[in-house]
Symmetry: C2
Subunit: 167 residues, 2 copies
């Protein structure tokens, strides 16, 4: 009854989401140019004072996706220092995250559904539960919140931008 | 190399997300009581004037999940009229959506990865691409945006509430 591979349900989903996020940041840059404000003001924009900024949302989307790749494939992910404060820096981080994910051979994910993944504050999960009940929701949380921040700041993005190319 | 069933990667994920959303709406009700405002004001709150309200986000999360169930299992989903304007009505809609999803026998999803799904404005997708590149991102978009609306209106919810029970 199994139909999907662990790779298929993780890496391409993350790459698609990160690619769409990058395209949304490009629209943000164009919008800042048209409306004549400093593009990088957006990096510190947030929905509530005790929520992460746009930079923080992008950093967490990067972390969730690369850590999923690392935990499921066993291939160490690059470490980033969370020092990005500008949109070009955030774009570079997204690009490095995508490059890591693209480097992962799907065969490394075989059997990862049964692997034990240990999460701080949560405990042990099987690989499939980790992916479906933690990694994917967490990833989309941060990408959708980044979208919401851009949207609330008047960047002309819509749900089709969030979804990216569908296929 | 397949590890996940189409049912496993859809129905329980939606049920978990909808259950978490329902719990967040309960926290909203408690917060409205404590802060002494009409709870139902939240149903029409939105992040931007041209985005859907909280009620709209809940309705779309319901639609995306029940339509995925219908398209992948072939079992007609209940139709809703999008007339909910209060939080109790939205809670009832979530409950009916969960009840429908719970009624679906996993065996009905076998082979759905190869089924052709036709989406308006998008075209034909295979069942697995439909689930991974459209249905799941779209579902989480609406649940995360609902969370963002509550968060921006001072409801004390955090990412753990969004994720719900992880397992």
């Amino acid at each position: 009854m199994t139909a999907l591979s662990m790779h298929q349900a993780s890496v391409p989903v993350f790459i698609r989401g990160l690619t769409a996020l990058s395209a949304e940041l490009e629209k943000a840059a164009a919008s800042a140019g048209e409306r004549k404000f400093d593009l990088n003001i957006l990096a510190s924009a947030r929905l509530a004072p005790d929520m992460l900024s746009l930079a923080g949302q992008v950093q967490r989307a990067s972390d969730t996706s690369k850590l999923s790749g690392e935990r499921l494939s066993g291939t160490p992910a690059p470490k980033f220092e969370d020092t990005e404060t500008t949109l070009p820096e955030l774009q570079a981080r997204i690009a490095k995250t995508i490059a890591y994910l693209e480097s992962l051979d799907p065969v490394l994910f075989v059997g990862s559904e049964d692997k034990t993944i240990t999460l701080n504050h949560i405990g042990d999960l099987k690989g499939d539960a980790y992916l479906l009940s933690f990694a994917l929701p967490n990833f989309f949380f941060h990408v959708a919140t980044a979208h919401a921040i851009l949207r609330q700041n008047g960047v002309p993005v819509g749900k089709r931008d969030f979804l990216g190319p569908i296929a």
